[in-house]
Structures are given as structure tokens and as C-alpha cells.
Symmetry: C2
Subunit: 156 residues, 2 copies
């Protein structure tokens, strides 16, 4: 994992264009592949113990989506590029650059890029955090009882 310490190469990581950075790898969204998602990349911009948090940049390809999940830790999100929608708890929000989204503890959440645009966003989390939980059949049934959420989850 990329450390906060700039080390011998200096304090600056230059932007390379297209929201890529020098000395920062573009990673798969999740390591294990067990959770459903589509077309998402991850770059770890800042991390390490001294900071007590991590700042990541995620990018979702057009029509893609992050995993529907929840957890105890908070997400603090700033949209950087593109257009999409976000499920946060029981509300769905259209999102565009520089919008700020707070995902509260245990709120179900998912980000979806529009069909015609990617969606890129910063996501700040604390360094020591719990693992996300996926919905079981009962959770999904409760979420889908709201027709707007059902349509969102089906990408409509």
C-alpha cells in the first residue's frame, strides 16, 4: 500500500492528466472479487498511520457501479468528474463535480455512473475501519420495497 511518506522522491506527486498520478498505481476496486460491482478502478492517494485516514480516488466506467454495501465507518465523498447517482441510506441523489456526500454509519450505499458518462470521486475513510457487509435476501427485499430504490439497483 502506498504510504503517506513522500520519501526520497519528494513531497509532490504530479497529476499526469486524466486523474492519474505519478507513483500511484491504478488498482482493481476490490481485491477478492466476491462482491458484485462493474467497471470500477481505485487509486490510493494518501494513506499510512501518521494520517489516521486514507484518501482514495475511484472511477466508475459509464454504466458501472460500486458494490451495494454498508459498514460502521463513514465515507466522506467529493465528486471530481462525470455524472451519476448515489444511493445513501434511503435516498437517491444525482451527483456532479464537487458535490459532497456523507455516507453515515450502516447506511446502505452504492454509486452508479450514468450510461453515457464515467463518474470519478474522492472517498475519505479512517485508516482503521471495519469490513463492508453485503445485503442478504431480506435486506434486498426491504430495499426493493421502495420502487425508486428498486429501479436504481436495476440501473434504471
Amino acid at each position: 500500500m502506498e504510504e503517506t511518506g513522500a520519501g526520497p522522491k519528494g513531497a509532490l506527486r504530479r497529476a499526469l492528466g486524466g486523474l492519474r498520478w505519478e507513483r500511484i498505481d491504478c488498482l482493481p476496486y476490490k481485491e477478492d472479487g466476491a462482491a458484485p460491482f462493474k467497471g470500477v478502478s481505485r487509486q490510493i492517494l494518501f494513506s499510512g498511520e501518521p494520517l489516521e485516514s486514507e484518501l482514495r480516488y475511484f472511477e466508475i466506467a459509464p454504466g458501472g457501479f460500486t458494490t451495494l454495501e454498508r459498514h460502521a465507518h463513514v465515507h466522506a465523498v467529493m465528486i471530481l468528474r462525470g455524472e451519476g447517482r448515489c444511493l445513501a441510506g434511503e435516498a437517491i441523489y444525482p451527483v456532479r463535480p464537487y458535490d459532497l456526500i456523507t455516507i453515515e454509519p450502516w447506511a446502505w450505499h452504492q454509486f452508479r455512473a450514468d450510461q453515457a458518462a464515467r463518474l470519478g470521486f474522492l472517498c475519505l475513510v479512517k485508516a482503521r475501519r471495519d469490513r463492508p457487509m453485503l445485503p442478504d435476501a431480506g435486506d434486498l427485499a426491504k430495499l426493493r420495497a421502495n420502487p425508486e430504490i428498486a429501479a436504481f439497483l436495476d440501473g434504471r
Copy 2:
């Protein structure tokens, strides 16, 4: 101070344009006025105990600068708009949008906007952190022994 919790008004704080946000105050850079700086505003985008960190947006007017200071905690910075320069430790970096800068513990640092452009940047810090220290005459003499740093501090 603005809390992380979105509360009754929802998870979303919309961007208003010009890197201002709904329900986020544009504050003075420092409360006390004891430290030298010029033309800097501050907005607290995310904070509060659950996150264990704070994400702030600072904007420096053309020709302005932040306080020359150092401290034990780390700054994790992403430039969002404009052009300027940054002193980080003993190096000076030109900076432009999306560049990432790590300010290491106890590194002297200052951000300066160009004379013709503002400079806006995100700055991530841990929630519980030490207060900045200002340079004394001896510190300034050591910094100014490097002609490039002396020129930077003089805005040249």
C-alpha cells in the same frame, strides 16, 4: 464546527459553483490573527469524530500566501484550482490542479498563489492534532540561507 453527520438535511451537500457548497460557511483562514498570512479563506468540508479526520478547502487570492509553519501532524493536499508554489521542507514545487503534496511531520511549509491566479486546494488532516509552530528568528535565518527559499518567502 460543521459535523460529518448529514442530519435531517440529507447526505448531499451540493456544489454551488466556484468551489462553494451549500450549508458550508466560508471562514477566515485562522481565528486568532496572530500568524502572518494573506488572502486565504477556509471551508470545512468534512469533520467530526466518526471520521477521525478533517477535509478542508483553502483558497488563496492572487499574490496571497498561507502561514509559514510546521507541526507534528501530516498534511495531505490536493490542488483543485489555480496555480501557485509550495514550500515543503527544503524544496519548492510549482503546483497545479490535481497535484498531490504530502507535508511530512515537522516540515516547514507554505503555499503561495501566483500573482495572477488564485490557488485552491483540499487539505486533509487527522482530527486530533497539534497546533502549528511559527518560525523564530533562528529558524528564519536557516531557511533564508537557501537563496531559493529566501526568494520564495519574499514572494519572488
